[in-house]
């Protein structure tokens, strides 16, 4: 069996599962945010549920429109806050105590290898980087999960992506996943598990692994997953004392398809509007000027990402007329970045530094685009209107490319500086 099949089998109390089978699994964690939880809280009541299945295992994070951008979003965040208090939830987070859901859940040790997690947010697949099965669902599924502590799944077939060789300078996890989506398309892994493996992945720090699994949904996948190794275990053990189980794919595990790529052939990637599959190597981008650069989001708002951006922006200036918005993914990351001097570097270079929020990633606030404007962003989606006006454009790239582009005012790699 694959790692995904083994985790689902264990959670379904079965010896074996096969792709295509329907199973009901116990849940180790259920999560929702300030957009998806309001509908869920209403559904929960309409289901006739009184209490959540486990106050330790239901996590609510207000992050999309926080700090609240208007009265409606403030009302939604309050709904979460009140529900969390009323139910006695251990884990309710908002900007000052948390940050972006997919950054803080792993950081706080709330997701561990081998666990089964559903989140009412499509990028819940991020946690697969820890060797967990984690998938996005809608509000009603989340409400059911809160009430019952279980969820049904169709066991996905798995695709395996093996990266060999050496990463070139400035090529990171974001480039590997953008490249992958460029190869297989935005529905290339529809309904399937994407398993990432090989020597390149084994040498990647957790930050890059989270970025890779984060965007599995952009290929239509149910989950992304990376088998836990020493890097994972070091990371997890420094954050929890809870027990967990490590699963690995069998040598004879069956895959719907196995892809093998030499990382040396992959240069920094840019996904053109309006789909994440429209990728090109940085050398093929051409002359594209930008109005805004966004460095942050659950894809690339980690401390490691900020360090890369700061290394490029140090001693340089953001191009005249360009807005470079840096958003640390959590309050903790913001503090660490401040202590390391990264925030000062950003401010000195002429960037805007925001409190943690999803903000512009979904066109919410803190950097919404006007008609005709163009942004380079470390976010994960470049759909029509994603960052603002339906006639604006978003190009997706790594923190290195976004920072370098902010300096020149056109899309470029760090080598061009």
């Amino acid at each position: 069996m694959t790692i995904t099949e083994k985790i689902l089998a264990q959670a379904a109390r079965r010896d074996e599962v096969r792709p295509g089978e329907f199973v009901t699994c116990r849940l180790d964690l259920v999560m929702a945010n300030d957009i998806t939880a309001p509908i869920a809280i209403e559904e929960f009541a309409k289901m006739g549920a009184a209490r959540v299945f486990d106050v330790e295992k239901v996590v609510l994070v207000a992050d999309h429109f926080t700090p609240n951008k208007d009265i409606k979003s403030a009302t939604q965040a309050k709904l979460l806050r009140d529900f969390a208090r009323e139910q006695g939830l251990t884990h309710f987070y908002e900007a000052q105590t948390g940050g972006i859901e997919h950054i803080i859940l792993p950081d706080k040790g709330l997701v561990l290898p081998g666990e089964v997690v559903i989140g009412a947010d499509s990028h819940t697949c991020t946690y697969g980087a820890l060797g967990a099965f984690a998938t996005g669902v809608g509000s009603t599924d989340f409400a059911a999960g809160m009430a019952l502590g279980e969820c049904w799944f169709r066991v996905p077939a798995s695709l395996k992506f093996i990266f060999t060789g050496q990463l070139s300078k400035w090529v990171c996890g974001k480039d590997l996943i953008l490249y992958t989506i460029g190869q297989i398309g935005v529905d290339g892994a529809r309904y399937m598990a994407m398993e990432f493996a090989g020597p390149v992945i084994e040498n990647l720090p957790m930050a890059d692994r989270f970025t890779i699994c984060n965007m599995a949904i952009e290929a239509g996948a149910k989950n992304g997953i990376i088998a836990p190794d020493d890097i994972t275990l070091d990371w997890v053990n420094s954050r929890t004392t809870r027990d967990f189980e490590v699963f690995n794919s069998d040598r004879d595990a069956e895959y719907a398809e196995v892809y093998e790529w030499d990382a040396a052939d992959i240069e920094p990637q840019v996904a053109f509007p309006h789909l994440p599959e429209n990728t090109r190597g940085i050398s093929e981008v051409g002359e594209i000027t930008i109005d805004q650069a966004v460095i942050g989001a659950c894809t690339n708002g980690r401390l490691e990402d900020l360090r890369i951006a700061a290394a490029i922006l140090r001693g340089r200036q953001v191009a005249k007329g360009v807005r470079c918005i840096v958003i640390p993914g959590s309050q903790e990351i913001h503090l660490a970045a401040t202590r390391e001097g990264l925030v000062e570097t950003f401010l000195a270079a002429g960037c805007l530094v925001s409190t943690p929020t999803c903000g512009p990633c979904l066109g919410g606030h803190m950097g919404v685009l006007a008609a005709g404007e163009r942004a380079i962003a470390t976010t994960n989606r470049n759909f029509v209107g994603r960052m603002g006006h339906s006639e604006s454009q978003v190009y997706l790239a790594s923190p290195a490319v976004a920072a370098a582009s902010a300096v020149t005012g056109r899309i470029c790699g760090p080598e061009d500086l």
């Binding site: 509908i39 559904e43 599924d141 009430a147 949904i217 979904l362 066109g363 994603r386 339906s390």
Partner: protein
């Protein structure tokens, strides 16, 4: 109960940001959401859609965000069923969870044009294109999806489970 309505046709990879832009996710009222359905890619949709109409699209319909606001907005706008070549998985779950039937049929998705009048029999798995006089088959909905449609969505299913 056969569904009878006009087709509103769109292309491949219609994402949930297109169905309901994120700027409206600071509200949850179905009718308010319906008022902004599809507006970034088709500003005329809301004024032309009628109750009982059918949405038809290509591959990977509903990709992107997990927002249940997307099927809720479509349903509240009057869409009785969505036909697509394929659906993105979270949207597929969400549709049945809230009682919006979804049909995968490449034949229907390709054969039906915008404005065609269509008739659908969910039980027998037939889409009839009244305008063109064509018929397309689809695999009838079974399993959990069929159960959800019959009882009116996941809410009812959980309600029964909690009560038992």
């Amino acid at each position: 109960m056969p569904i009878h309505g006009k087709a509103h046709k769109y292309g491949d990879h219609i994402d949930t940001d297109a169905i309901i832009p994120a700027r409206y996710l600071n509200m949850t009222d179905p009718d308010e959401l319906a008022g902004h359905c599809m507006e970034d890619i088709d500003s005329g949709f809301v004024s032309k859609v009628r109750r009982g109409d059918v949405m038809v699209a290509g591959k990977n319909f509903g990709c992107g965000s997990s927002r249940e606001h997307a099927p809720i907005a479509l349903k509240a706008a009057g869409i009785a069923v969505v036909i697509a070549e394929t659906f993105a998985r979270i949207f597929y779950r969400n549709g049945f969870n809230i009682g919006l039937p979804l049909i995968e049929s490449a034949g229907a998705a390709q054969g039906i044009d915008d404005g065609d009048e269509v008739e659908i029999d969910l039980e027998s798995g037939v889409v009839r294109n009244v305008t063109k006089g064509e018929e397309y088959q689809f695999a009838p909905i079974t399993g959990i999806a069929a159960e959800l449609l019959e009882i009116g969505g996941l809410r009812e299913r959980v309600k029964r489970q909690l009560a038992s």
